[in-house]
Symmetry: C2
Subunit: 287 residues, 2 copies
């Protein structure tokens, strides 16, 4: 005889009525099955479940327009990075799907201004910032031909771990900009060498990290979107190969292919470091 | 080649440090594996995940001293009833485990007063209430011998669906009481025929019910705890066999063995209904 009612989970799933949409029915069926299996396999007690309920309620109570603690709780167990990967995969398989824009992350700004190649996006220089010159070429993945007039958009946090819209001390559009590639398909700008920063750890996500004996740091990174008519847009983050959190990102966003080297730059009074990063775009299927 | 990184979930699990407790490591390992499997199997998109995050944050924002919406969200997917069943099973297997007291539910009060057999627990009679006389015998499960001086404790909601501590219009300890069995092992009291009530449906739990095309009603029930020295305590709910929500409890707490019949009672000016409910207690193993 099974220790727990073998029909219970099916009864809960079958309680859904006929007006449930097919997708919602699918998601709730999968969610209920996994949550119940988790509880049975681990013999979750009422006290343990209630501790989880309290933690989730606390996440909601901490959340407001400026902070999404429920999201952060998901991030520290890898869920945001995983749904990012899934959504990218679906977008690649069906590039016209509307989900393709969902993976920009919370700090993207659609109204970021264009700047000239060679411009400096560090409008509010932090005293502890290291300047870097970032440049590269946007090319067709298959033919290696340069793509002239492609758009490269970037954004990064300052050395205090804050993006400009989180930090009243940073000038608007600090550390972000859009660039058009020149006749050789080249873009370039001055930016900060990105620096690691901790995710906020004064709430339930921080409590989970503590209980899992983990640190809250994210490795340094720069966000990039590259677009060109007729090509699949590329949305990505690049990570500094020297970063100590590269192999233990608290939100699990690092992929090997996204690790880049900052190298010393000579004879440039504006920057002691340089990063060469070429972008390869894949032609979109004709509609 | 797999569509999604096959090492991702193990990487997240293996990020836990050595100071994690064994039980927390077990629970987080199971939780992360099931949440990730759920996301991959159903190809959960960023937009769908974010809708879930918003719903959970909303639950926390609605919760306070008087309302636990995170708990209710779990209830409507059967999780509370399931962890109840698990906790009961563990308590039966190891009756001295501290979890045995966790399954009393949110409306139990440890300071409920003793009343004489035959007393009326309806201190604040609702105009639409039906009075019932509930009585029975507490016996040894094996020998059928009556247990003299056993404690039977009961509590129930009023016809508005509220327990006395939720409703300032009900007298303190309304619809609850403790009784000692007499020399025949008998207990008795007057109470209300319990009535069905909806769980609060103005928040995320209600939204989930709506999206799953389900109603919010719970079938009518009375909570009971019976205890006697040297015997395993019994904590349970009994359900009215005439209730229309018996087969579709919104929180999935009904078990067949807990369904009881209210029958007409003659020649009693205090009650038109009667319920005979005997309690069988199992001797606890000697320590």
């Amino acid at each position: 005889m099974p220790r727990f009612d073998p029909n219970f989970t099916d009864n809960v799933i079958n309680s859904m009525g006929p007006k449930t949409t097919p997708r919602f029915r699918q998601l709730m069926t999968g969610l209920i099955r996994h949550v119940h299996d988790f509880a049975r396999e681990n013999e979750l007690t009422v006290d343990e479940w209630m501790a989880g309920v309290k933690l989730l309620n606390w996440a909601g109570q901490m959340s407001d327009d400026k902070r999404n603690e429920g999201q952060l709780v998901c991030d520290v167990i890898g869920l945001e990075s995983l749904v990012d990967e899934i959504t990218y995969t679906l977008a690649n398989e069906a590039p016209d799907a509307p989900t393709a824009t969902a993976i920009l992350g919370p700090f993207f700004r659609a109204d970021t201004p264009y700047r000239d190649n060679g411009a400096n996006i560090v409008l509010t220089p932090p005293p502890d910032g290291e300047m870097a010159f970032m440049h590269g070429q946007v090319v067709d993945f298959a033919t290696k031909e340069p793509l002239v007039g492609a758009t490269v958009e970037v954004w990064q946090a300052s050395t205090n771990g804050l993006y400009e819209q989180q930090d009243p001390k940073q000038e608007e559009f600090n550390l972000r900009g859009k660039f058009k590639t020149d006749e050789q398909g080249r873009y370039s700008f001055y930016c900060l060498r990105p620096t690691p920063y901790p995710v906020p750890d004064d709430g339930p996500a921080g409590k989970l990290l503590e209980l899992m004996d983990r640190h809250p740091f994210r490795p340094a990174h720069i966000h990039i979107i590259a677009t060109y008519d007729g090509y699949k847009p590329l949305t990505t983050q690049i990570f500094d190969s020297k970063d100590k959190y590269l192999t233990n990102d608290s939100v699990f966003a690092v992929k090997d292919s996204l690790i880049v080297d900052f190298v010393p730059r000579k004879d440039d009074p504006q920057a002691g470091l340089e990063l060469n990063y070429d972008v390869k775009l894949v032609r979109a299927p004709a509609n």
